[in-house]
């Protein structure tokens, strides 16, 4: 089949395919998924989710088990959404004696009813005398100096200041100056929630009941660099840590679920497509060769085929993964070993018919070699069938891989949907009702499977007119 022929065949196929609504839906979903994979850097809300999925410190500023941000719609009292404040206003001033003052300020508009869970400031410091003063100016004009820290021996080291860890004393003092003595008598700096005070109206009774003070908060980090030549204060940013977070919330390890799902999409597609492509190709060739040569070759090949079909796939896959602790490529390889049997019987029976056609006989009479007949005359006729077969075996490849990952036997260096579900099981997400951790990954597996099923059944219907509804 030449390229031109293939073009004709394709336009013919498309004419039929256009009428299959479900097939178009499936194709649409798959195209969308491929687009997301191509545009992954733009879709990821956490850019390094791929490489740092297992790195706890990368996710430390998130809140754990935070529901998705959109759940606020259904709540009477809105929770603060996690926000990352970057590109603060930078002011630099030279003081006497060569000392430099660098201050960065971030504006945060607080309009929720519940306070954020934490306020975290980050920067990179270099040098032996880096002094950072973190203060917050509230909408009512009061400024609270949360914490002052002097760090030394830094070499582009991360400095992390959080209200919850470092600002308790200052906030407790602020509380005491605003509330009556009886109210604050029974509490200490250790028993308060820092943000409950920072974002509350300064009034009597604020220690027991939270009244939100809405408006613009300015978070300022001032750094005094004694020796501006060597000391540095760079890349400051602030995270306001809300009770709800991101498109799909966070898990108990503070990871952003949405980023994990986007990162897992390419693996799901790769696993499904590569497994089905390789295994269907092998299966089609196997069926053709078995049918074409017949006799002893056929008998032996059928026996080998029967050995493979009499193995339960998933149990073997689990045991192999448990014993060999494989990489994702190995898992794909093992799946190919089992999946190639899928199209063999159908292809063999089709090839047995084609083999008896007169043009094959003519080819033989003209002295064509076996290889030429197989490749030029038989394979092109059976390739269309294999497309439908490929599409239909993608979902099971994805499901098998996620089943293995669910048991915790997947490739630990990558993020797959099955592994996210494994973590969810480990983190007892079912018990705690962390639905945003369980429903989305499985739903994506199901949707991707559905898309390929739509596509496969539509192709099957067109390429196998016999199956059409009578």
């Amino acid at each position: 089949m030449s390229v031109k022929d293939f073009g004709f065949w394709l336009s013919d196929f498309w004419k039929d395919f256009r009428k299959e609504k479900s097939g178009l839906i499936g194709l649409g979903i798959i195209v969308l998924a491929i687009l997301v994979v191509i545009l992954e850097p733009f879709c990821l809300t956490w850019k390094d989710a791929n490489s740092k999925w297992g790195d706890i410190s990368y996710w430390q500023d998130n809140s754990a088990s935070a529901p998705p941000a959109w759940t606020n719609i259904f709540k009477a009292k809105k929770s603060a959404v996690t926000m990352r404040l970057e590109n603060g206003k930078v002011e630099e001033a030279e003081l006497d004696g060569g000392v430099k003052m660098v201050s960065t300020s971030f504006d945060y508009t607080f309009k929720a009813d519940e306070p954020p869970l934490d306020l975290v400031f980050h920067c990179r410091g270099t040098g032996d005398n880096v002094n950072v003063l973190l203060s917050v100016t509230r909408p009512d004009g009061q400024t609270i100096e949360l914490v002052q820290r002097l760090e030394s021996g830094l070499n582009d080291t991360d400095i992390r200041l959080s209200a919850e860890n470092d600002g308790r004393e200052a906030l407790f003092a602020f509380l005491k100056s605003n509330d009556t003595e009886e109210n604050t008598a029974s509490i200490s700096a250790d028993s308060i929630r820092a943000t409950n005070i920072l974002f509350a109206k300064a009034q009597e009774g604020m220690s027991s009941k939270f009244e939100p003070l809405k408006g613009k908060y300015t978070i300022t980090a001032q750094s005094m660099l004694i020796n501006p030549e060597t000391d540095k204060f760079e890349k400051p940013y602030t995270v306001v840590n809300g009770a709800v977070s991101g498109v799909l919330g966070t898990d108990t390890m503070k990871r952003d679920v949405f980023s994990g799902l986007v990162a897992g999409l390419k693996w799901a597609l790769l696993i499904g497509l590569l497994t089905s492509f390789v295994s269907v190709l092998i299966g089609v060739m196997y069926g053709i060769i078995s049918a074409y040569y017949g006799g002893v070759v056929d008998s032996v090949m059928q026996f080998v085929y029967q050995i493979f079909t009499s193995m339960p796939v998933l149990p073997i896959l689990i045991v192999v993964s448990a014993v060999f602790k494989p990489s994702i490529w190995f898992i794909i390889g093992v799946m190919v070993v089992f999946f190639w049997t899928g199209p063999v019987m159908t292809v063999r029976s089709m090839a047995l018919q084609i083999k008896e056609e007169t043009y094959i006989e003519a080819g033989k009479a003209l002295g064509a070699s076996n290889q030429r007949i197989i490749w030029k005359h038989m394979t092109p006729l059976l390739i269309p069938y294999s497309f439908a077969s490929m599409a239909l075996s993608v979902p099971s490849a994805i499901v098998y891989e996620s089943s293995v990952s669910l048991l915790g036997l997947g490739d630990a260096t990558i993020v797959t949907w099955g592994q996210i579900l494994h973590d969810a099981m480990q983190g007892s997400a079912i018990l705690n009702g962390v639905w945003w951790w369980i429903i989305p990954p499985g739903l994506l597996i199901a949707i991707l499977g559905m898309a390929f099923a739509f596509l496969g059944f539509a192709m099957d219907k067109i390429l196998h007119p016999k199956l059409r509804t009578r």
């Binding site: 479900s22 089943s403 579900l421 099981m425 390929f452 009578r470």
Partner: protein, 346 residues
Amino acid sequence: MYKWFAVKRISKGIVMYALLILIFSVLFNSVNETTMRSQIEEQVRMESQRLKNAKPGDIQRFQAERKQTLIKLYKLDRPMGERIIFRTVDTLTFNFGKSTNIKSSAGEREVLTIVGEAIPRTLVLFLVAAIFEIGIGIMLGLKKAQKPGGALDRSSSMVTMIIYGMPTWWLAMIFIMFFVYGIKAFPSGGMHTVPPPEGFAYLLDMVWHMVLPLLTLIVIGIWSVSFVIRNIVLGTLQEDFIMSARARGIPENKVLYGHTLRTAAPPIVTMSLLSLLGAISGSIIFEGIFSWPGLGNLYWIAVQQNDIPVLMADLAITTGLYQAGLVILDLTYGFLDPRIKVGGKA
């Protein structure tokens, strides 16, 4: 004739099973032997602890000797080929040895007991589910075939495709979240409440624990079953004898369940058994979500505790069950369709 067909098919199944076990033995030889060696070490250490009064030199000599005998006993000193054959024969005679961690419900560490007590639990779950699936699937499939292209046919075919790539265990998680922790209607897992009640209540308790796993399997299973049954029955419904039966005024239900189903029985039985086998080979680990203590759950436990003997025995038994299912499949098909056994090559 049928007897010969049966004998041939069964012996072929046994040969195939032996071959598979041989393949497993080759594949997992090194990990099996590592586990065996460490088990021997442990056993020798346990035994030497009993010799309290012996001198240190004696203990060492005893340990070395004992290790040698055990290594000889398990044939670990023989060449690789012989070891593999020996292990294959061991597995084929259900001589799985002792587990490293897992204990049976009676507290034994005999792997055969551990796996053996899991078999009926898995079978009961999957068989009951299959019965429901096939019952509902046949009814739905016949209704679909009555009006091909109708609203019911199209919508349920759509559901078949939507559910095509949905993992059973994920649906199980969702069901647990909704039915167990949401509306608190069912227990979260296991087979019985602890301690199990006596008498008739025991059975009721088990059924109560079984509802949710069954529901999961059925909700996933019926769609594809009904889809295949529709395709099988569709041809039969176009036959002349169906038309004549309808013309004779035989009630529609009798035409469907009597005439049509009877004719289409062989492929339906095949398909039902195949879907049962598919469930065993594909969604067995969903038992782990419900902590249903069957073979699938055993995979979870064995993987978590890294118990290689149990894992291997579980694999051997699952493969055996699968193989037996394939044999039964061919036997029933040959029984229902007399044409098979004459021309059938075993």
